[in-house]
Symmetry: C2
Subunit: 348 residues, 2 copies
């Protein structure tokens, strides 16, 4: 059988190769680069084809497709969310993604996106904090020390110059895991016994817990003036982390309002609750932080454009490395009308 | 680095392996099997999660995601349509698909679907003809001798007992290619110089041409009583093959009305033009052909459930064969909360 042509081969980045690529570049450099790619795409937000996720719900979880396009490239992510998986030794979330050429319709990259999503989420948080956090922020409270916590801490260090992270989780084993992983990264890591202790002296408060419920990780009286809240864990219907009173005192910044009003912290508020779209800050159409005493809140739920940025980045970086395999995924008969002949000749 | 666990590996069927699998089973047997899988899923049509395709249009083509679920498995197909590709030596249509477990959200199969779509389209046509074509149909006119023509002919032979296929294409080279490919399949193949000649004595008229326009491949006066029209090529907005008068004299059967009214032959008709959903015939809720002199018309545009059936079939068949590779596509840390630790340990 003849070899498939180059055009029929799709570069694939496995989990193993993603890890190799990340270490080849360096984790902090990857976070810095990703923040730049996300920032560039937020700046040209208006030209993207934007749709809410396409979700298929079942009693135990959800499977979603998140497509978008900038007119030149088309990307989508497949991602599931199954909170009960952990107790069965499986991941709550797994993801992969694909980038295609809009002009030909041919896929140009297939990649794991579980690790990549963790990286892009942290890079997006740090990019937003650059515009929203008080000047000179050097201390972050990290409340919730699960899978995203180290990525958040390292992104804030690499992109914002964070010096100290103060960890809290209701499960001390999670805090111990996070502290151990962050040892040697250059961050000053402080393990705390209560949320109150964790937020002492912090200009940035990051919440990222796993409970799927209306929880109050930060109560109204815990949040004083002049902080930036980076709310990551209020990211699906029925799941929030902040007291309503905090939202009322904050200036709230979001990715894509139609999605955030359903999935974010602001699902607690009326439909006309005022929010600012982050892309408008980044493109210079409106201000981010205006006042040192202001409370800014990034109500982040994750949006398809951030995955698109991450896919673009991996496509650009992986092309000149060995960290990929070629998948024979596209049928490529010499004569496009002769698919059957190609199949028949393969019998020999 | 430790090996990923079995759960993190996704079986992948390449184009090469798909061809090997098809020949291992036998093309006609694959068509028969696929028709059974599609028929089974049409019989339980009501329990599927059905949405129109999610399309991203550009000036030169379209990229679509076609998801569906039966509550146990979730499937989607990625497919592009770029008519201008042929002149650039590329495929007009390429496709791949994925099947996942709804209970865990984990993908269980990734496969090429360019060849598989050609097979499932033909199997669906023949399955519909079983219910709609006149009893004892043994001759088919195949108008349009492109990539789908041999698959259609062979499926009608394997599933319906077709004996003779009468070929016509405005390009005699396409007819010659189709006739050569069908030589030795046991079909009596007659190459014709005009559409009128092709339909002589045929009980089944299959139209499958490529022009993206409102074309009239069959005019009203060409179609007499007692035939079944299998209309494949009227499958996107602005692309039809049949004169309106034929539709007015026919009983029209469709897959999913909201999609067919936009993409099928019936885009020419008013929104309330009466159609029968094919699944209702297959599940016994309504009759297919009622009268030998009736004109039946299957206005086929292709629907996500047919791809789902095809994905189920490949999953079932490939599992016990060597015709697959395992892709390391899902990150699988020992402790789900320790994704960062897994990444960090990979550095060593």
């Amino acid at each position: 059988m003849s070899q498939p042509s180059d055009k029929a081969l799709v570069p694939f980045v496995s989990v193993d190769n993603m890890m190799r690529l990340v270490h080849h570049i360096g984790i902090e450099q990857v976070l810095i680069d990703l923040a730049t790619y996300v920032e560039d795409d937020f700046r040209r937000w208006e030209l993207f084809d934007k749709t809410p996720r396409v979700a298929s719900h079942s009693e135990v979880g959800v499977i979603e497709l998140m497509p978008t396009s900038d007119g030149e490239a088309y990307g989508f992510k497949y991602v599931n969310g199954h909170p009960k998986n952990t107790s069965e030794g499986l991941q709550t979330v797994t993801a992969f993604g694909l980038l295609a050429n809009v002009y030909t319709g041919y896929p140009v990259l297939l990649t794991e996106m579980t690790i990549l999503t963790a990286l892009r989420t942290a890079a997006t948080s740090a990019m937003a904090a650059k515009y929203l956090a008080p000047k000179g922020s050097d201390t972050m409270a990290m409340i919730g020390n699960g899978a995203q916590s180290e990525f958040q801490s390292l992104a804030m260090k690499a992109i914002l110059g964070l010096k100290t992270v103060r960890l809290y989780d209701k499960d001390p084993a999670a805090t111990a895991k996070c502290a151990a992983n962050l040892a040697g990264t250059g961050l000053n890591v402080v393990s705390c016994a209560t949320p109150q202790e964790a937020i002492e002296g912090a200009q940035i408060l990051t919440t990222c817990t796993a409970d799927k419920q209306y929880a109050t990780i930060l109560s109204d009286n815990m949040v004083g003036a002049g902080v930036h809240i980076n709310a990551i864990g209020g990211d699906c219907p029925g799941k929030t982390e902040l007291a309503k009173g905090i939202l009322e005192r904050s200036d709230v910044f979001v990715e894509f309002p139609p999605q955030t009003r359903v999935e974010g912290e602001i699902q607690q508020m009326d439909e006309d609750f005022a929010v600012t779209e982050l892309w408008q800050v980044i493109s210079g159409q409106t201000e981010g932080r205006k006042d040192p005493r202001q409370i800014t809140l990034f109500d982040s739920v994750g949006f398809a454009i951030e995955d698109f940025s991450a896919l673009r980045y991996i496509r650009d970086k992986v092309s000149e490395t060995p960290f990929k395999e070629d998948l024979d995924m596209l049928a490529d008969p010499d004569d496009p009308r002769d698919l059957f002949g190609m199949l028949q000749r393969a019998k020999a």
